[in-house]
């Protein structure tokens, strides 16, 4: 059979179900791709032996009625995996081995999949280029020295390089959708509460949401179906019936209304992205969709709001890293307080410390109202903008990012220009609604560009159907020459 690692997840599942390939053969082909690479740096931990063992035992007594039968999957190193190091891309957790499994990964394993490895990411998921990882930069398979986006950069890179058939990431302000857009892959951020946060290393609890990163829209539907579940262990988990996103996927989008928000046409946006957006509108019109001009007037305040809310929650969540219960401890310090201060100073990287300091400041006595409370009010306005729009339209179409992938180091010295990467993705997290990024074209350098579809809460099926229909018409082809091998 031709290179099976290039196939989409749903094709592989079909082949396994028809007994045309074995899980072991499949696992071997991904391990080979992982071993042939010493440049991308997409993996922090590779679980070859364990994965091969699991694949062999699957082949011995295959359970073919599961959603992910015998499928090896590498996951972002932010999901706690029992007995396997989980670092969150940080020195602080360099040697942390959880003795429990995150709900989302457990759901995947219950559907027949098994762990292939842990993927690099920005430290504690704080970053948009994977440059804040303690374990080094990750490169984008599209071109040498180009960032894969972040924070789920290792996930996007490994997926685009055929080192895993599918993967999962987390999205706090765009960390699934932006890297998907940069690597020509599909990334879905579900409605807040659809996938359990239990066992995921916390960044900003009111924004964090796990989701699939895949080669096709069908694969995202399949993965979401496997990942989503009600979980008593996450107090914000939504109690609803499981949906069959994959089975119910269809191209029937005629008659839907899709909004185009004028505020997403930002100054300095490359012409190519504007053209991409226009093309998306045209494709939808041709499918019988009505295009409606809408306004989301508070869009420009989403990023400033995010940079109060997310650091505030992070400073509180990351208070647990004190060098006592788990993780790194500094050898320096003459007393308990000094031990805390040195542990946190040596264990966290610069971006994480920067965000903890911002968060501590906006929550500190005398500043709470001016910053945090103000941000929560603006967040309300941003949410209302979406609520109003969804009275008129079924979904919203925007570009995924204001640029294509950039060079490593290009934005490193300038936090604001780095933060601006997430300008189109952040509002969705603030409002807790779902959104998907699909590859929609290329720029002058042949770098992929993505379009984002935003939907009503828990309306993932409609979002997937629209994306599925657009995918067919766009017919995006990845052009990657595997420069990182040999």
């Amino acid at each position: 059979m031709s290179d099976i690692s290039k196939k989409s997840l749903s094709e592989l599942v079909k082949l396994i179900k028809k007994k045309e390939i074995k899980s072991e053969e499949l696992t071997q082909s991904f391990i080979k791709n992982i071993n042939n690479d010493n440049k991308l740096n997409s993996f922090i931990t590779i679980c070859s032996e364990e994965a091969l063992k699991k694949s062999k035992s699957f082949d011995k007594s295959p359970k073919l009625d599961l959603l992910l039968p015998g499928i090896p999957i590498a996951v972002k190193d932010l999901f706690c995996t029992q007995g396997i190091k989980t670092t969150a891309g940080s020195k602080m957790l360099e040697n942390f081995v959880p003795n429990y499994e995150s709900t989302v990964t457990k759901n995947l394993w219950n559907e027949g999949a098994f762990l292939l490895g842990k993927l690099n990411c920005d430290e504690y998921a704080m970053g948009s280029s994977n440059e804040t990882s303690y374990f080094g930069n990750v490169m984008n398979p599209i071109a040498e020295n180009t960032v894969p986006g972040g924070s789920s950069g290792g996930s996007a890179s490994a997926l685009a390089a055929d080192q895993t058939p599918t993967t999962i990431g987390t999205d706090t302000g765009g960390s699934i959708r932006q890297p998907a857009s940069f690597t020509g892959t599909v990334g879905l951020k579900p409605t807040y509460g659809l996938c359990s946060r239990w066992g995921i290393v916390a960044f900003a609890s009111s924004l964090d949401q796990a989701g699939p990163m895949t080669k096709t829209v069908e694969d995202s539907a399949l993965m979401l179906e496997a990942m989503a579940s009600f979980d008593k262990k996450d107090s914000t988990s939504i109690n609803k019936k499981k949906e069959n996103y994959f089975k119910n996927l269809n191209h029937n989008i005629r008659g839907l209304k899709i909004g185009i928000p004028k505020e997403y046409r930002v100054d300095g946006m490359p012409k190519e992205i504007d053209a991409l957006w226009e093309n998306g509108k045209k494709i939808l019109k041709d499918s019988g969709v009505e295009i409606v001009d809408i306004s989301l007037p508070n869009t420009k305040y989403a990023l400033p709001t995010y940079y109060i809310v997310a650091p505030a929650e992070a400073s509180s969540n990351l208070a647990r890293y004190d060098g006592v219960k788990y993780g790194f401890r500094s050898a320096k310090g003459n007393n308990l307080i000094e031990m805390y201060e040195n542990t946190r100073s040596e264990g966290f990287g610069d971006e994480v410390k920067r965000r903890i300091l911002i968060g501590t400041y906006v929550l500190s006595s005398g500043y709470y109202e001016a910053y945090y409370l103000k941000a929560q009010k603006v967040r309300q306005l941003i949410k209302e903008d979406f609520d109003q729009s969804f009275k008129k339209v079924d979904a919203i179409l925007t570009p995924s990012t204001p640029s294509s992938a950039f060079k490593i180091g290009e934005k490193k010295g300038d936090p604001i220009s780095m933060y601006l990467n997430d300008i189109f993705t952040v509002p969705v997290n603030l409002a807790g609604i779902p959104a998907i990024s699909i590859p929609a074209g290329i720029d002058k350098n042949n770098y992929p560009l993505g379009l984002q579809l935003i939907g009503r809460p828990l309306d993932e099926q409609k979002l997937l159907n629209i994306a599925y229909s657009m995918q067919k018409k766009i017919n995006f082809k990845q052009s990657i020459n595997r420069w990182w091998e040999n």
């Binding site: 305040y301 400033p304 006592v324 007393n335 201060e341 920067r354 300091l357 911002i358 500043y367 604001i416």
Partner: protein, 95 residues
């Protein structure tokens, strides 16, 4: 609100992160530009807006206060950087 070195030192105390003297100038510059960016929010009048308290449409669930695990001391201590048989070990706190 202006960010200066003293403020940074104060916040780092609160956050229990020691800040390297050599890095404090760069950090002050970065945080000042971030706060300038954040303070765009002051353009908006939000006097009549209720702050968002939850993005879920339903209230948070409460649960019965029940013990459903326990006897996991060894597990909890497994990842501790310093421990003895039963306890986390920290630098001496009481003289």
């Amino acid at each position: 609100m202006s960010i200066d070195k003293d403020k940074i030192k104060h916040i780092s105390k609160l956050a229990r992160i020691s800040v390297d003297e050599k890095k404090i100038n760069d950090l002050t510059k970065d945080l000042a530009s971030i706060f300038k960016f954040i303070e765009q929010l002051n353009e908006l009048n939000t006097d009549k807006v209720e702050p968002l308290s939850s993005i879920l449409n339903e209230p948070l669930r409460s649960r019965k206060d029940e013990i459903n695990d326990g006897k996991i001391r060894t597990k909890i201590l497994e990842n501790s950087p310093q421990k003895n048989d039963e306890f986390f070990v920290v630098p001496k706190v009481v003289e």
